[in-house]
């Protein structure tokens, strides 16, 4: 069970108190009604699903109720940091966690499929 730091309560609390809220830093267009299909697709449907560092939204729903953002490594589930909603996306390129190859694929064990 994850231990998550709430930047509003300023302490680590159990995962049970939180709810995941999808990717962070996807701003809703202010001219929503006028955007193109491609822009809407980008805004609403397309997500990266990265292996490694991800910026995502969490809500401390059974605590202060606030939404905040966090940077998490999707391989190790380590939280790099969490920060308040509205704060800029931090630059973590310097300490991006190394992504190990953990999934055993057929190609990796048997070579290219014939």
């Amino acid at each position: 069970m994850l231990l998550i730091y709430c930047p509003y309560c300023e302490e680590e609390r159990s995962e049970l108190e939180f709810r995941h809220g999808g990717d962070a830093h996807i701003a809703r267009p202010t001219n929503m009604a006028d955007i193109t299909d491609e822009e809407f697709q980008e805004f609403f449907f397309l997500r990266d699903n990265p292996k490694g560092l991800i910026f995502e939204r969490w809500r401390h729903i059974h605590g202060c109720g606030r939404f905040f953002n966090a940077a998490r490594d999707t391989v190790s589930d380590k939280f790099v940091m969490s920060y308040k909603a509205g704060e800029p996306k931090p630059d973590l390129s310097g300490n991006a966690p190394a992504t190990e190859k953990t999934v055993e694929t057929y190609e990796a064990t048997e070579g290219t499929a014939k």
């Binding site: 069970m1 994850l2 231990l3 159990s14 995962e15 709810r19 809220g21 809703r28 929503m32 009604a33 955007i35 299909d37 809407f40 609403f44 939204r57 809500r59 729903i61 109720g65 606030r66 939404f67 190790s76 589930d77 909603a85 509205g86 190990e100 055993e104 064990t109 048997e110």
Partner: protein, 997 residues
């Protein structure tokens, strides 16, 4: 005497303290502190079970949690019975009843043993091959057969009368394992002042010190030192010592689950005590001191009762005072087994021979064996065994061939070396690394704040283990900010350092042999099965595991994994690390469901939500239905009425007189603030700034993709205050949805949201006499039709208590929804009922509510919509503002697919035969004679018998539905095809005269 094989002066149990138990109906005597395994062995019982697949006689293999063979059924009474208990782990208590498993008619004569002779038909993967065809045989023949054959024990049928507890704990350092390493680490950590939890699965700490009597620490015998150290730790305020407690799961961020067995060893447990207790520990640092597990040797017929691990025999002798045989053989690839022979020999047991498959055993043990006069056959192997229900002799041959010599024995001890217990480390997502020199998988890359110490870390040697553990304990404790104490020093000595070990099949069980050399005892997997799997194309260890079931039993391959891997490696001609180890999963050992669910059972499994009016409804004889967690009054049957009768009566009464309904479960959100109207404009499709205070409006909420998310009536109480209602099931998610937008997209808006669902009791009074019923009770609100038309809201008093009174309707009748503070709900309802009943009104439930709303074509979000329906599809275009420049879903509604012709739209359906009621979910087609697969146009979403219409009515999602009004479509059912006509959705009072009356 508690068993003929108990040797006076050996072991640590007290001879005077006895306990009696039965095994397969026969009474045996044990000593307090015995396990079932040690007590049976003391009484000369080696045969304790039958194997899973071949029903081969099996005995006790180990003295610990790794036991794959000796699985028994243990009971206290009829309800307190547990199958598949490992005999070396279960402590004996007086009056315990033990039964063997997987045998019929008896353990010594088991009909299922025929499987052993038929074993060529039960090769690895035989399920996949045998039960392929014919397809028809699966349900009637194969599946029942597999189900009957599967499993060992029989699950209890009675409800578990015991209770289980659960608690959370926090500490600086959690130490898993209470052997030399764990105790040393805990001691060093505790000395700094750190909060320490030490847990060990056995009744007493000590680990390997239970059997290794050659160890002294600080001048004390190892076992005595362990107990003294545990006592010292227990006396410290900052330390919790938990015995009979297994760390079974290691989860994210140092969250470790422990199970403490509280009463399973007690003859008469205090009823107040839980049977087991789960500890959910969050530790700042974790030290893994989980030790290692001895492996067996893989050779022909290595599974007869009487054949066991060398360390197990040593435990039975040195801790329990039990000799496992009178003439004992040893077969080993490791020095450690020699010490078992030495201890037994000194206790007066004959050692037939030590058969060592190595050419060069450790010199020290070899010298000691010679000194004790034990015959050692180096470079030899045991190639077969004999004995029906217990081993009677072994065949020994020089490695590489030659004639075999039979040596009579009544027990055979074996050791192929030691496998570090990296289970918890691996569960923590740490990566193991293969150490080729020692042939072991050891902790490699750590993923969490933990350290492994002692033999689970591959550390050999007593003093090295102690020093490593002391250092780790102090390091981890200091890392959590504890600065007290000084250095702890301990001095340990032991007789021999061990060398050796092997993995894979031994002599006579190698490639091209077909003997039964067991790798996995619990699932009856032999060396040849693993080779077969490789030959049949399984080259990944994960595939080999699943094809052969090696390591898939409840022991999770604690003995078999490394052997299986080595055999696969040999056949594949690929190094062990290239094949990889299968992943370790929690739990480390089986955990009862009782412990996992704790008090979350029966009424506490899922909380029931009851409205403030629930007691009144019960008194009125309501039948309740579950709506989410809510208990809602479904219908109110009178004497002799069926549900159908009751609902028909309620439907008639509401339209002819009036009805009273509990609408308290509807979600309610108070939206307050200067920007409240602007916020609602963004949340709903409708325009809210034009709504006057004192008026209500039906609102539709969309997701950003344009699909209907929720609906409800919103009343404006003041310029800056709205009373929002949501669907019953949607309340929490709508609140979350609103909070999300308010906090993250529109934080500039001055709005405050409060959930008030449970603060209001809501009594709907609906029907032509509704006004007459409530009028005398209401104070301060003119509820005449002119002053208080449909879709109005006022604040005032009813029966002297504050109310928010809504004029609104979900029935199509003139109606009111009386909101009062929850605590007043029942008394206000009683006052309303006192007037309603004499006027001919009835109480009605959710079923009648459903019928009445369908008669008016009012949709239920989630029943008539399914997350792919737009407001336009639901004929609700009128509720979508065309003037607003933004609301959630405005852009989604314009997506090409959402504006396309031919979308499924909500329409009414009238069956050609008015007496036929369609099934909800039934599919709709245009041409009933079209060959299959037919083109489905849509499905029925709501369908009822309408007593008021005198016929059935239905709503359906139909492709291009609006354009099909008047068309005949068909609903094919298994026994007939039903013709229906597409209609609009309003079946009663199309002009709305009743509503506005």
């Amino acid at each position: 005497m508690s068993g003929a094989n108990r040797i006076a002066g050996q072991g640590r149990l007290t001879p005077a303290r006895t306990a009696r138990f039965t095994f397969d109906g026969k009474t045996y005597q044990a000593l307090e502190g015995d396990t079932v395994a040690s007590a049976l062995l003391a009484n000369g019982v080696h045969l304790v079970g039958r194997s899973f697949k071949y029903h081969r006689p099996r005995g006790i293999l180990s003295a610990g949690p790794e036991e794959p063979n000796a699985l028994i059924d243990v009971s206290r009474d009829a309800a307190r019975r547990q199958p598949n208990v490992r005999a070396p782990v279960q402590e004996v208590f007086d009056g315990m009843k033990v039964e063997s498993q997987n045998r019929w008619p008896s353990l010594s004569f088991d009909i299922g043993g025929i499987n052993n002779l038929l074993s060529p038909f039960f090769a690895a993967g035989f399920y996949y091959k045998t039960f392929m065809w014919p397809k028809a045989a699966w349900e009637k023949v194969y599946e029942p057969f597999i189900r009957k054959a599967a499993g060992l024990g029989v699950a209890p049928t009675e409800e578990d009368p015991d209770h289980y507890a659960s608690r959370y704990a926090y500490c600086d350092v959690l130490v898993a394992g209470g052997g030399v390493a764990g105790l040393s680490a805990a001691l060093a950590a505790a000395e700094t002042g750190a909060r320490v939890i030490l847990c060990d699965e056995q009744p007493e700490v000590g680990g390997a010190l239970h059997y290794d009597t050659s160890v002294t620490i600080d001048g004390q015998s190892g076992y005595a030192w362990a107990q003294a150290t545990a006592a010292k730790l227990k006396a410290m305020e900052n330390v919790t010592v938990l015995t009979r407690t297994t760390a079974f799961g290691y989860y994210n961020h140092n969250f470790v689950a422990l199970v403490e067995r509280v009463t399973d060893h007690l003859a008469r447990p205090d009823k107040k005590l839980p049977r087991e207790r789960m500890w959910q520990v969050r530790a700042k640092r974790v030290i893994l001191a989980t030790g290692s597990i001895e492996r067996h040797m893989v050779f022909a017929n290595n599974d007869r009762p009487g054949i066991m691990l060398a360390s197990a025999a040593r435990t039975y002798l040195n801790h329990f005072g039990v000799a496992v045989g009178r003439k004992v053989g040893v077969y080993t690839a490791s020095d450690s087994a020699y010490e078992a022979a030495f201890d037994l020999k000194r206790a007066g047991v004959t050692i037939a021979a030590i058969v060592d498959n190595r050419d060069k055993p450790g010199e020290a043990v070899l010298a000691e064996a010679r000194k004790l006069g034990i015959e050692v056959l180096v470079g030899h192997s045991v190639v077969d065994t004999k004995g029906k229900l217990r081993v009677s002799s072994i065949s020994v041959a020089r490695n590489g061939g030659g004639s075999a010599r039979a040596i009579p024995v009544d027990a055979l001890l074996m050791s192929a070396g030691w496998t570090p217990s990296v289970h918890l480390f691996s569960q923590s997502r740490g990566k193991v690394a293969y150490d080729a020199a020692s042939g072991r998988f050891l902790p490699g890359t750590y993923a969490q704040d933990c350290l492994s110490v002692g033999s689970c870390n591959g550390t050999d040697g007593l003093q090295a283990t102690i020093e490593e553990s002391l250092a780790a304990g102090e390091l981890m404790a200091r890392a959590t900010g504890n600065e007290g104490g000084g250095k702890v020093e301990l001095r340990g000595e032991n007789a021999f350092e061990w060398t050796g070990g092997m993995a894979g099949a031994g002599e006579g069980a190698g490639v091209d042999t077909t003997v039964k050399a067991f790798v996995d005892f619990q699932n009856d997997v032999c060396a040849k099965d693993i080779r077969l799997a490789v030959r049949e194309g399984m080259h990944s260890i994960e595939h080999i595991k699943r094809f052969t079931t090696n390591g898939m039993a409840t022991d999770q391959g604690k003995l078999s994994n490394i052997h299986g891997l080595a055999i696969a490696s040999e056949v594949l001609n690929r190094e062990i690390p290239k094949i990889g180890l299968t992943t370790f999963r929690a739990p480390y050992t089986p955990v009862t469901f009782g412990t996992l669910i704790s008090h979350s059972r029966g009424d506490l499994f899922d909380p029931a939500r009851k409205t403030p009016l629930h007691a009144w409804e019960e008194a009125q004889g309501a039948v309740f239905e579950d709506v989410g967690n809510w208990k809602r009054a479904w219908y109110y049957p009178r004497s002799g009425e069926t549900m159908h009768d009751a609902v028909n009566r309620e439907c008639r009464t509401v339209r002819n007189a009036a009805g009273v309904f509990d609408a308290s479960t509807l979600g309610k959100i108070e939206v307050v603030g200067p920007d409240a109207a602007e916020f609602l404009n963004l949340m709903y499709t409708n325009a809210w700034d034009t709504l006057k205070p004192g008026r209500c409006r039906y609102g539709i909420m969309l997701r950003e993709d344009g699909f209907v998310y929720d609906d409800g009536v919103v009343g404006r109480l003041a310029e800056d205050r709205f009373h929002v209602t949501t669907t019953t099931g949607g309340a929490p998610r709508v609140m979350n949805h609103m909070e999300d937008y308010l906090q993250t997209e529109f934080p500039h808006l001055k709005v405050w949201l409060t959930s008030t669902t449970e603060q209001w009791a809501v009594i709907a009074v609906q029907g032509p006499k509704a006004r007459e019923i409530i009028e005398p009770l209401v104070e301060g609100i003119d509820i005449s039709n002119e002053a208080f038309p449909h879709m109005s809201v006022r604040e005032g008093k009813i029966c002297g208590v504050p109310t928010r009174l809504f004029r609104m309707s979900f029935t199509g009748e003139a109606g009111f929804e009386v909101n009062v503070p929850a605590d007043y709900g029942q008394s206000v309802l009683e006052a309303i009922w006192a007037r309603a009943e004499p006027l001919g009104a009835c109480a009605y439930g959710t079923e009648t509510m459903h019928v009445l709303r369908a008669e008016k074509g009012y949709i239920i979000v989630g029943q008539d919509t399914d997350g792919t329906v737009t407001p336009h599809d639901a004929s609700l275009s009128w509720a979508v503002s065309k003037k607003k420049t933004d609301f959630v879903g405005i852009r989604g509604l314009k997506r090409p697919d959402l504006v396309k012709e031919g979308r499924k739209q909500l329409v009414g359906l009238l069956t050609k035969d008015p007496n036929v009621v369609l099934e909800e979910g039934a599919q709709i087609v245009a041409d009933p004679n079209e060959p299959k697969p037919m083109k489905m146009l849509g499905h029925v979403t709501s369908s009822y018998w309408s007593e008021n219409c005198g016929r059935s009515i239905a709503m359906a999602l139909v492709a291009g539905g609006q354009a099909r009004l008047g068309q005949t479509l068909y609903v094919p059912m298994p026994d007939r095809t039903i013709a229906v006509e597409v209609s609009d959705m309003v079946f009663i009072d199309k002009e709305g005269a009743r509503l506005n009356g």
